[in-house]
């Protein structure tokens, strides 16, 4: 992946950060559990917003690699959770 290789070299560019943001949100969508899905979306949005004003290259790079590690965790967990979906959906997903 071009973005992953570029990030390994140095400070991630804006397009790479946006790629990470979008991948995290897409992975969040794949969770079958309502609570985890909403939490992942909320956490990525809050996390990216908190770090929006970072200017130090080291902190930017470490935040980016933290984000990539979390993306890997989320991808694995979405597969595992989908193996054990409960039959009953959360009340928030029922159309009222």
């Amino acid at each position: 992946m071009a973005a992953a290789a570029a990030a390994a070299r140095g400070v991630p560019k804006r397009s790479e950060v946006l790629w990470l943001f979008r991948s995290l949100l897409r992975t969040a969508r794949q969770f079958s559990d309502y609570n985890i899905r909403e939490y992942t979306k909320r956490r990525t949005i809050d996390g990216f917003r908190l770090n929006r004003t970072l200017s130090d290259p080291d902190s930017i790079t470490s935040a980016f690699s933290d984000g990539k590690a979390q993306l890997e965790v989320a991808k694995r967990q979405s597969i595992i959770y989908s193996l054990y979906t409960p039959k009953v959906k959360s009340i928030m997903e029922l159309k009222s």
């Binding site: 397009s15 946006l18 790629w19 943001f21 979008r22 949100l25 969508r29 949005i45 990216f48 917003r49």
Partner: protein, 124 residues
């Protein structure tokens, strides 16, 4: 709290038997409190329901001039690139199809979003 509850219960029982203003002055406050809460309309009717107010405020804000069909997310609506990505994701969910990353980066205004989605055969 329990004392108030038992006082209320005792008082209610008294009312059934006596059918008059209670003679015991220590219960007078709770009786008038009950009357104010359940029987008087002027205390309840002066405030609007909060959810109704919220709906009306939101619809007024939505009609605000800035949100036009030509509005650019970043220059007119003051959103940053994270907000733009969020909006594109919400559009993907609304219309039920995936927008590839390179196309999604180009969607910077309402017009572009409308054109892109209208020209995509998989939009539901």
């Amino acid at each position: 709290m329990a004392a108030v509850g038992s006082a209320l219960l005792k008082h209610l029982r008294l009312r059934v038997q006596v059918q008059a203003v209670p003679r015991n002055p220590s219960y007078a406050l709770s009786f008038s409190a009950i009357r104010r809460r359940f029987f008087s309309e002027d205390v309840r009717g002066s405030f609007l329901d909060k959810s109704e107010v919220a709906d009306r405020v939101i619809s007024v804000v939505k009609n605000f001039q800035k949100v036009t069909p030509n509005a650019n997310f970043q220059s007119d609506l003051g959103l940053d690139s994270l907000d733009t990505v969020e909006i594109v994701m919400a559009l993907e969910e609304e219309f039920g199809f995936e927008i590839p990353d390179n196309e999604a980066d180009k969607i910077n205004s309402i017009n572009l979003a409308v054109d892109f989605i209208a020209s995509h055969p998989q939009a539901k």
